[in-house]
């Protein structure tokens, strides 16, 4: 039955070119959408970086590396990820502990491990490892998961998340926690757990206030009333909202954003690049971008639905949903819905590390989608 479904599905939408891509383990629709997104991102980045060609060259190199990484990972069968995820998890947790102990500081937080030649960010590796290890664990137990396996999953998630939160890197730990929770959710986590967890989070929110660091509290307060300190903590969000709002329906035109080109908008080529896009292209630029992001997410979920086993399904679904969380947190933060956390806008923001990780995730997705015959055999 599974074989039949597979074959029919493959016959249904497999044009010749699509089949050729499948042969080299690439999913054509996903690749196409990611390419369009990256191209669009370059366009926005060119404007955000004040027409700086140098910036574009560097970003292009990163994109090439990221797409190359995706291609390489796509060649690896999913079973390999499944088999080694546990070992990688243990190693990465040790690395995270090492980072806290001896890691070099960058921007006030300890995130990097200096390996002499290259600086290595173990948290990026953990972003990939966490959904894999959670999925591998759940796939090896009965489904839907028992309370015991849920608790063990939560431990697998909580340990790295807490280690990263301590660096501190709130953005990454939230995204990472989400990716693990998504695996649990897609694997059929019981509703008792879901509602119980939600209740617990709601109850813990006040307590969370006391655990938060001062700057984190400030960010929450700023979200609620940015005008309280318009030239201090509120500056980013006020300028960003002015950029978005003044863009209006049609935008001010490419390269014509005053907020960005006159330096009012901070961090406009990295975390706040969405504001540049919204200012210059208006709502008519924002809606297509969101649509493209949603299409990518849905393609991921489609791949998950087509996957042949629990591990593949939950990993693919989690990667897709985590990708959406990136988008939601970034745009929510830039438009004043969420407090400021350092989350880039995927494939648009300038910056290398997270892009490589992200594309590696899509590599895993492609691997899952294009290795089904092998599993079926």
């Amino acid at each position: 039955m599974d074989l039949a479904t597979l074959d029919s599905e493959q016959r249904r939408n497999n044009s010749w070119i699509s089949v050729q891509f499948q042969r080299i383990h690439l999913d054509l629709p996903l690749l196409a959408m990611l390419t369009v997104l990256a191209a669009f991102g370059m366009l926005v980045l060119y404007s955000a970086g004040d027409n700086n060609a140098d910036l574009l060259v560097r970003q292009s190199i990163r994109l090439l590396v990221a797409f190359g990484g995706m291609f390489v990972i796509a060649q690896i069968p999913p079973s390999i990820f499944r088999r080694y995820s546990g070992a990688v998890w243990i190693v990465t947790v040790l690395l995270l502990i090492a980072v806290l102990a001896v890691g070099s500081k960058g921007g006030g937080a300890q995130r990097w491990l200096d390996l002499g030649v290259v600086k290595f960010q173990p948290s990026e590796l953990m972003k990939l490892t966490l959904p894999l290890v959670t999925a591998a664990w759940l796939a090896s137990r009965s489904n839907p998961p028992t309370s015991r396996s849920v608790l063990i999953s939560l431990a697998l998630i909580a340990i790295p998340v807490l280690l990263i939160a301590k660096q501190p890197d709130l953005g990454t730990s939230i995204l990472m926690g989400a990716s693990g929770i998504f695996v649990l959710f897609l694997a059929g986590l019981g509703w008792r757990w879901i509602f119980g967890g939600m209740g617990l989070v709601a109850a813990a929110l006040p307590a969370l206030w006391y655990v938060m660091k001062d700057y984190q509290r400030q960010r929450v307060l700023t979200l609620l009333n940015p005008e309280a300190d318009p030239f201090g903590s509120g500056y980013h969000i006020i300028q960003s909202k002015i950029a978005i709002g003044s863009g209006g329906f049609w935008g001010k035109g490419w390269l014509n954003g005053t907020q960005s080109h006159l330096d009012f908008l901070p961090e406009r080529s990295t975390d706040f690049i969405f504001a540049v896009l919204a200012e210059e292209h208006g709502l008519m630029g924002v809606i297509p971008l969101l649509a493209l992001y949603l299409a990518i997410v849905f393609r991921c979920l489609y791949i998950a639905a087509q996957a042949t086993n629990l591990f593949n399904r939950t990993v693919a679904g989690s990667i897709g949903l985590t990708f959406f969380v990136y988008v939601f947190v970034n745009i929510g933060m830039v438009s004043g819905l969420l407090p400021v956390v350092g989350v880039p806008l995927p494939l648009v923001s300038y910056g290398g590390t997270s892009m490589v990780t992200l594309m590696a995730g899509f590599g895993i997705l492609m691997s899952i989608h294009t290795h089904r015959k092998l599993i079926a055999r």
Binding site: S140, S142, N143, F264, F298
Partner: protein, 619 residues
């Protein structure tokens, strides 16, 4: 971890569970995406106008363009107040990262005085933000400019800006008439429309600069410039040019003014010269004076202390505010009052024995000439300035009639000159004494009022003004220091022709008869002068002091010596100049003040030119 057979059996159920969860995820994703879209529509459509305005406010700064202050010239068009380009060192608060460090760096390049630092501290505390620069040092010289230019890159937030600074080329000579501008303060701003002064740094504080502030200032323009977040101005979007202030032409002749100053020399005193035909002020000297340029950008404490504690009071405008007993310089007016009321005629005479007695009183009202003038009529009384004659006349007139008549010549009231701060002098009367001192008027006080002593006080301007009225035969014009306005006639007093002729003849004899108190004027003048000397007592000599002699006072210390006064006009036939000269502690009016007045009148009649209005008759 290979899937075991047990789980294989549940694969279908597993997939169904997953699909259900995936469906929920899709719904959740769509909801969250909907939230984002809703927020975008809120910001970009609903609140678009609000954010558009804020975006514009962000980048567009409205900079005031202050108008250029009008020039002040003398009647010949010579600049008395001009605007010179100067360079100013300023800090832009928003761009200065470390104030202490920046100041240290600047100090290494240009010296900063204690005063400059103090003034900067104050200005820094009051800074208005919005990239408004705070001035640190005014008037940079070329060398300092060059040093700053070379080091510009190290000095963030430090800028050098070119400004026009008010400059008074004649310095002290015009200080008491042109006045000066100073840094604008809160009180100045309250008296004007602050928006028109948005970019203005200086404000007229005294003199013409103050009186004609409105005309001189002009109207502010504005410039809309696009700036980036750092406040750097990128381009001018739109600008409205300011309307420069009006130039003001004074009736003063600066050469006459300086000549008059030279004549006073190092004495403290005052010269006010008017054109009796229109009220134009030709010279307005008050000495000592001060360099008005010191005040433009704030005077240093040391300089101010020096000026303020100087015993000769250089900051005091004697011509406008100095109140002196007029002494004998009002006798001709008292004489006219006597003629007017029929109390005397030109032939009326009395015998002067050196003092005057009131009935039932032992008190001797002394004449300045101990031996007396003998038989004295009005002519002799004026020519030789006999006091006894005027004691008698004053007694017959009474204080009320005297007050009435003298006030017609503008005494005891402001002339209305277009300078601020004029004093009114004092013309005593019964009601004044009752009101101010709550005392009745004593007959003896009438007597000394008749010779310009006692309570009576006049400003040099008033004396010149009353002399101009007399020169004009009883009519006159409001004194004014600016040209361009029509002369403002004032109805003063009707003087019968024959009275005027008699008094004028006597005043002429004052300056050219062998016995006249100003006989020194008879030499060297090719024109006829009517004049009257005066000597105002500073040191109240005891009436019974037998050693006292008004003419020999060389042994009295200078600050106790009498003020020397002279009023007069010339030429008698067609008066072109009327003036009052006061030399403080100069001694005798005839010996000291009269020659000065004579030279000034001569200079004017030789070199002066009438006002443009009278030069070119209107078509």
């Amino acid at each position: 971890m290979r899937p075991s057979g047990y789980f294989f059996n549940n694969r279908h159920a597993e997939r169904q569970l997953f699909l259900a969860r995936a469906a929920i995820a899709v719904i959740g994703t769509l909801i969250l995406a909907g939230v984002l879209v809703a927020q975008m529509i809120h910001l970009q459509v609903t609140q678009h106008d609000h954010y558009s305005v804020r975006s514009k406010d962000n980048r567009i700064r409205v900079l005031p363009l202050p108008p250029t202050r009008g020039l002040i010239t003398d009647r010949e068009g010579r600049a008395l107040a001009e605007n010179l380009p100067t360079y100013r060192l300023e800090l832009i608060p928003e761009q200065v990262t470390d104030l202490e460090e920046t100041l240290q760096a600047i100090k290494a390049l240009v010296p900063l005085s204690e005063l400059e630092e103090k003034r900067f501290d104050r200005a820094w505390k009051r800074r208005r933000g919005n990239f408004n620069p705070v001035p640190l040092k005014f008037r940079l010289d070329q060398q300092q400019l060059a040093r700053l230019a070379v080091n510009q890159h190290r000095l963030t937030g430090v800028s050098v800006s070119a400004h026009l600074t008010r400059h008074y080329p004649y310095g002290a000579s015009t200080a008491h008439i042109v006045g000066y501008v100073g840094r604008i303060d809160q009180r100045n701003l309250e008296s004007v429309d602050p928006s028109n002064y948005a970019g203005t740094t200086h404000f007229g504080k005294t003199g013409i600069e103050s009186t004609y502030e409105d005309q001189l200032h002009g109207w502010v323009g504005e410039q809309r410039v696009e700036t980036n977040a750092a406040g750097r101005q990128l381009r001018v979007v739109e600008s409205t040019l300011p309307i420069p202030g009006e130039d003001i032409k004074l009736s003063i002749d600066i050469e006459l003014q300086r000549y008059a100053e030279q004549q006073l020399g190092d004495k403290a005193g005052s010269v006010v010269a008017l054109d009796p035909r229109n009220g134009e002020v030709l010279a307005f000297v008050s000495l000592p004076a001060y360099d008005a340029n010191l005040f433009v950008n704030g005077i240093s404490v040391a300089d101010y202390k020096r000026l303020n504690t100087d015993k000769k009071r250089p900051l005091f405008n004697r011509s406008l505010k100095g109140q002196y007993p007029p002494g004998s310089t009002i006798k001709q007016l008292v004489g006219l009052a006597g003629l007017e009321h029929g109390l005397i005629s030109r032939n009326h005479s009395l015998s002067c024995s050196g003092y005057y007695l009131l009935p039932n009183s032992e008190h001797r009202y002394r004449d300045w000439k101990r031996t007396g003038h003998g038989r004295t009529d009005l002519d002799k009384a004026l020519v030789q300035s006999c006091d006894v004659y005027f004691y008698d006349l004053a007694r017959n007139l009474g204080i009320d009639r005297m007050h009435n008549y003298l006030s017609k010549f503008g005494l005891g009231q402001r002339t209305g000159i277009d300078l601020l701060g004029e004093r009114s002098g004092l013309l005593p009367s019964r009601s004044w004494k009752k009101e101010r001192k709550n005392e009745i008027w004593y007959p003896g006080e009438t007597l000394i009022t008749g010779i310009g002593q006692g309570f009576m006080l006049t400003t040099p301007l008033q004396l010149a003004h009353s002399t101009a009225i007399l020169a004009n035969g009883g009519s006159g014009y409001k004194p004014q220091v600016t040209l361009g306005k029509n002369a403002e006639p004032i109805t003063a007093v009707k003087i019968p022709k024959r009275h005027l002729r008699d008094v004028e003849r006597s005043l002429h004899r004052v300056t050219n008869s062998r016995l006249g108190t100003a006989r020194s004027l008879s030499e060297n003048h090719h024109f006829h002068i009517a004049g009257k000397t005066g000597t105002a007592q500073v040191y109240a000599l005891s009436q019974n002091d037998e050693d006292e002699d008004a003419e020999v006072r060389e042994d009295i210390p200078e600050h106790l010596r009498d003020h020397a006064l002279f009023v007069g006009y010339a030429p008698i036939k067609d008066p072109k100049i009327a003036l009052a000269v006061i030399v403080e502690h100069g001694g005798s009016g005839g010996a000291v003040a009269a020659p000065i007045a004579g030279r000034i009148m001569q200079w004017w009649l030789d070199n002066g030119s009438p006002s443009p209005a009278s030069k070119t008759p209107s078509p």
